[in-house]
Structure formats: structure tokens, C-alpha cells
């Protein structure tokens, strides 16, 4: 069994308690479905699964953010809350043991997004600096909302904007989509006669009826799956997406945006310069970005020591804005990962949207940086 040095644990607990947090008590054995639903099936090979007597799939806690948020939703807490945790997590890793410790803070329900973002990053930095004062830290910051604003400014149809937003943070996939967007694409569907005629006429109702007739003839009931109306709507949308193209100039512009890397101190100006080359609507997003940077400076964070990387993001659908990583120079892998996940709590069943931002520290890596 892995263990955490008692003096490190004590230091961490003292740090977290001094940051205006309540301790979240999270069970080690968790239902597996929320993790697989949120993070996807590729997590399955990396977590430890088991079953209870009634066949429910359970797992050893692979991380804290999802259970902290689930418990918050289940408790029906309406007021903003800041949860701290420190405990063991269990994952199959290529290197390192499969039991290790994480600590972190999840800040849920605070509507002052810029302030909560800044506090999360400032807390994370203060934590690693308190525990490992001699290490040298590199901080990388990205923002999903800025990327989405750039894509919106290019005037692409919604379907393409969503595709690009989902690929954000995965360079190979963004590149593949840019290639797709730059070339002439052949449209066309293999449709039965009545459906083809309805599509050609742009008659969505007739198209849905034709699809429904085929579904019934082939024995598909849409009780829980895709309906004829959904298929018809997407056929019509897809015909538009197939026609959408970006000019070489627009693609160069997107690439220029993704290549922006600047100290946060200079990033607002860099984004302003970039936005000037679009006729754009990016002002509100840049203002929010600048407000966050200001709040960070107010908290005493050196904006010259944080790198804004315009291409940095996480390909999970619940991340909505800020993402950040803190790494120790000379050590592989991030020591801290954090970000804003405003879609997560509704995905986990919250009746209304709840903003959330937080970070996790890999304590085995932090210990090595000490």
C-alpha cells in the first residue's frame, strides 16, 4: 500500500484548512458509471473495477472531482461551496504505482467566474510553492472559450463549430479538421427515393416521414434511440456542413491563433492584435480573459511566470473555459491539473447549471519535486 509522509500530510491539511475550504469525505469504493459516462470508455482500462452482489459495477476511486461534484448535487447544496480533499486514488499507470495520493480544491457555485478562476490557480501555485519551495515551476494556461470565440468569428455553421470545440487541445484532430475544412467535399447520401426527393426539396417534415416509414418497415423502434425526426434534421444540417469551407486565408488565421504562446502579462495584447485581424465579436471573451488576469495579479501572482498557450485544452465535453497545468522543471508530467467545468454538474444531475472550477495535485510528483 502506498503511503504519504506524515509531515507532508500535515502540511497539506494545514494549507487546505487555511484556504477557506470544507473537507470532502469521499468513499473509496464508488459506482463506476459516473466516471465512465463523464470521462469515457477509455478510462475503463485504467481503473480498478469490481461488482457488488446485485451486479452494479463499482470502482476504486480514480479521482476526486466527479465524486465531490456528485455529492454536492446529491446534498442539494444551493450556496457556493469550496471543498478540499486529500486521499488515495487508484489507477493503472504505465509508470509509477497504481495507488497514489491526490489533494485539491473544488470551488462550486461561485458566480464570479474571473475571481474563482484566479483563486483556483493562485491556490494551486501557493500549494506547490509551500510544499516544495526550492523547485522551479512552469505554469501553462489555456482557454476553451477564447478558441470557441475565434471559431465563431470565422462564421462557420454550428455543427462545424461544435466539431472544432470538441477537438480543441488535441493537435492531430484539430489539424485533420482544418484539412477537411480546406478542401472541396463531396456531399451526398444513399437515400431511398422518397427521402432523397424530400431532402432535395428541403422538406424536413416529409424527410422525417420517409425515414420513419423505413424505420418501421425494417423493424427499428426509436423507443430509446435516435428518432426519424432527429435523423432528418441532421441530414439537412449535414448537407450544409458538407458545403461549408474555409479559405486558405481563414485557415492560416486559425493556425496563427493556435500558435500564440505568450506570457500572460502580454497575452491580452496578443489576443487584441489577433482579434483586430477578424471583424469579430471577440471583445467580450477577451474582456473576460483580461479580467481573470487582473484578478490573478490582485492575488499577487506574477503574470510573467504564466504562459498562455492558445492551443492548450482538454477534449472532455464538460470543460468550458480556463484550463491550467503546473509542472516542475526537470520532472516529467504535470504536478497540478486544473480547470473550469461549468457543464459537469448538470451532466451529473444538477437541476440548474452550477459553475465549477478546481485543481488536483499529484502528490507523488510533488514529493519528488521537494
Amino acid at each position: 500500500m502506498a503511503s504519504l509522509a506524515p509531515e507532508l500530510a500535515a502540511e497539506l491539511r494545514a494549507f487546505l484548512a487555511a484556504r477557506d475550504t470544507v473537507v470532502a469525505e469521499i468513499a473509496v469504493i464508488q459506482p463506476a458509471d459516473p466516471f465512465l459516462d463523464m470521462a469515457g470508455e477509455s478510462l475503463r482500462g485504467r481503473i480498478f473495477l469490481t461488482e457488488n452482489e446485485s451486479g452494479q459495477t463499482l470502482c476504486l476511486r480514480p479521482e476526486f472531482t466527479i465524486p465531490v461534484c456528485r455529492d454536492h448535487v446529491a446534498a442539494g447544496v444551493a450556496a457556493p461551496a469550496r471543498y478540499a480533499y486529500l486521499g488515495e486514488v487508484f489507477r493503472q499507470r504505465r509508470e509509477g504505482g497504481s495507488e497514489f495520493f491526490q489533494a485539491g480544491i473544488e470551488d462550486l457555485g461561485d458566480g464570479d467566474l474571473a475571481g474563482a478562476d484566479a483563486r483556483s490557480l493562485a491556490d494551486a501555485l501557493a500549494l506547490v510553492r509551500t510544499i516544495a519551495p526550492a523547485a522551479r515551476w512552469t505554469v501553462t494556461l489555456g482557454d476553451q472559450a477564447v478558441f470557441e470565440a475565434v471559431v465563431r468569428a470565422l462564421g462557420l455553421p454550428a455543427g462545424w463549430r461544435r466539431r472544432l470545440a470538441r477537438a480543441f487541445g488535441v493537435p492531430g484532430q484539430i489539424e485533420a479538421l482544418l484539412v477537411e475544412l480546406g478542401r472541396e467535399r463531396r456531399s451526398g447520401f444513399d437515400l431511398p427515393g422518397p427521402a432523397a426527393a424530400a431532402l432535395a426539396a428541403g422538406d424536413e417534415a416529409a424527410l422525417a416521414a420517409a425515414v420513419a416509414a423505413r424505420m418501421e418497415a425494417l423493424g427499428f423502434t426509436a423507443a430509446s434511440g435516435r428518432s426519424a425526426a432527429e435523423i432528418a434534421a441532421r441530414l439537412i444540417e449535414q448537407a450544409t456542413l458538407d458545403r461549408a469551407r474555409l479559405s486558405p486565408g481563414e485557415i492560416a488565421l486559425l493556425r496563427r491563433f493556435l500558435a500564440i504562446r505568450a506570457p500572460l502579462r502580454d497575452a491580452v495584447a496578443a489576443l487584441g492584435d489577433f482579434a483586430a485581424s477578424l471583424n469579430s465579436g471577440m471583445a467580450p471573451v477577451i474582456a473576460a480573459f483580461a479580467a481573470r488576469a487582473e484578478r490573478l495579479a490582485d492575488l499577487g501572482v506574477d503574470l510573467g511566470a504564466i504562459t498562455y498557450d492558445a492551443a492548450f485544452g482538454r477534449p472532455l465535453d464538460y470543460y468550458t473555459g480556463l484550463v491550467f497545468e503546473i509542472a516542475a522543471q526537470g520532472l516529467p508530467g504535470p504536478v497540478v491539473g486544473g480547470g473550469r467545468y461549468d457543464r459537469l454538474l448538470t451532466l451529473l444531475g444538477a437541476p440548474a447549471p452550477v459553475p465549477g472550477v478546481g485543481f488536483s495535485v499529484w502528490l507523488d510528483r510533488l514529493e519528488r519535486a521537494r
Binding site: L36, D37, A39, G40, E41, S42, R44, G45, G159, R162, R163, R166, A167, V170, Q173, E180, F189, D190, L191, A195, V211, R214, M215, L218, G219, F220, T221, A223, S224, G225, R226, A228, E230, I231, R234, L235, Q238, P315, L316, D317, L347
Partner: protein, 229 residues
């Protein structure tokens, strides 16, 4: 010194494997009782043959319990974690052809490619309150193809042990990943393979376990494998 070879214990795969061994000059001396699970090879006193199911052959190769085996490439890639470090394909044998494919209901006229399926998967939860479900017995191949090659993260796998092709019509799953030889079963169930939905073109292979062996055994293994090239 000795080597153990695993051969399929049943059906056409067994017949084809035995024929291919004979063609390579390795005559498996089957016991009078066709159900016997062990046999010898004429003129190769240091070789023992064990008859196992194709799935067991993949597992026994991974654990090193057998040295050589004939099994499907799909089973090697599906059943062995990090397969390239643990086994090596010595020869593709030209029988047992089958494709592992992604198939959707034929009425999903808008879904032609994996990129279309990615769109559908991404919106699925918002529209239907649950993730897109894929019925398959190929967990590993599905995850690699969807997550790593096509960047599709949000879907759920529904384990299917047999009759996978019926899952979409019965409402148990939305799409399937399954093995097909002629495609007729898929067509009969009104399913269509996506244009870029072939995950693997599989066939029977002679597969060697990677591991420490006595030099004489290693030389024998290489001499036997060379007969199939």
C-alpha cells in the same frame, strides 16, 4: 528441450490449420480419438501439439504457456494487453478471414463515416439523457479505434456475448462493433458498415510467444516458423 504448439480444437479453423501445417511439411499425428487434446508432429520429437479454443490460444500465448499457436489476429489484438511486446505474428495463414467493423442501423442515413458518428455521439447525452451505446465483445479494439484513432471519447460499451447484430433492433444498444465475413448477417439485421468503419482485417495467424527460451528451443521455433513463409 521442447516446444508446445496450440492449434484450434474445433471446426473449419481446425481443419484449415491442420491442412496448412501439412502443406508446411508438419504432419500432425492425430490420435485415433478425434477428441484427444494432445498430438505429436511426425519427425519432430521435441514438439507437442495441444488443441485449444482460438481464444484460449491467444491467452496461453500471452502467458507463455505455449510457444506457437494458430489463432485469429482479432483475438490477439483484443485479448492481449500490449500484444506487440508479448507475441509476434510469424505468418499470416490465408484462411479464417473476417473483418471487425463498426455498423450502424441502415436507417441512419446521415451517418456515413466515423466523423458523422462522432457528431451523433457528442450530442447523444443532451438529446437522449444517456451516452451512445455500442454493443460488442471487442472492448479493447473498440476503445482504441474510437478513442485513440477517431477522438470519440463519449460513448458506453455494452458487453455482448453472442447475437451482437440484434442489439440495435432490440434497443439494447445503438450501434455495434462485430466481426463479419460476408456481411450477410449485418445486412439481414439492417445494419450498415461505415465507409471508414473497418477496424481490422483479420485472418488466422501463426503467432509466437516472445520470451526467454533455451537457445535450442528458440532455434527450433524459428525453424518451424520459417516453414510458413
Amino acid at each position: 528441450m521442447s516446444l508446445t504448439i496450440g492449434l484450434p480444437s474445433k471446426g473449419r479453423l481446425r481443419e484449415a490449420a491442420l491442412a496448412r501445417f501439412t502443406q508446411a511439411g508438419l504432419v500432425v499425428a492425430e490420435a485415433a480419438d478425434a477428441r484427444a487434446y494432445r498430438a505429436a508432429v511426425k519427425g519432430e520429437p521435441d514438439v507437442e501439439v495441444r488443441f485449444l479454443s482460438a481464444g484460449e490460444i491467444a491467452r496461453e500465448l500471452a502467458s507463455g504457456a505455449i510457444d506457437l499457436g494458430v489463432t485469429g489476429e482479432d483475438l490477439i489484438r483484443e485479448n492481449i494487453a500490449d500484444w506487440e511486446r508479448r507475441v509476434a505474428v510469424a505468418a499470416r495463414l490465408g484462411f479464417g478471414h473476417a473483418d471487425v467493423v463498426v455498423a450502424v442501423p441502415a436507417v441512419w442515413y446521415d451517418v456515413r463515416t466515423m466523423a458523422d458518428l462522432e457528431d451523433v455521439a457528442a450530442d447523444f447525452r443532451a438529446r437522449h439523457g444517456r451516452r451512445l451505446r455500442i454493443a460488442t465483445k471487442y472492448w479493447r479494439l473498440t476503445q482504441e479505434f474510437f478513442s485513440r484513432q477517431h477522438g470519440i471519447q463519449v460513448y458506453r460499451i455494452v458487453e455482448s456475448l453472442g447475437a451482437t447484430e440484434g442489439a440495435p433492433a432490440s434497443g439494447q444498444a445503438d450501434v455495434i462493433v462485430d466481426i463479419t465475413t460476408t456481411g450477410s448477417t449485418l445486412r439481414a439485421n439492417h445494419l450498415r458498415v461505415l465507409a471508414d468503419g473497418v477496424i481490422l482485417r483479420s485472418q488466422a495467424c501463426l503467432v509466437a510467444a516472445i520470451g526467454e527460451r533455451e537457445p535450442a528451443d528458440q532455434a527450433l521455433l524459428e525453424r518451424l516458423a520459417a516453414r510458413f513463409r
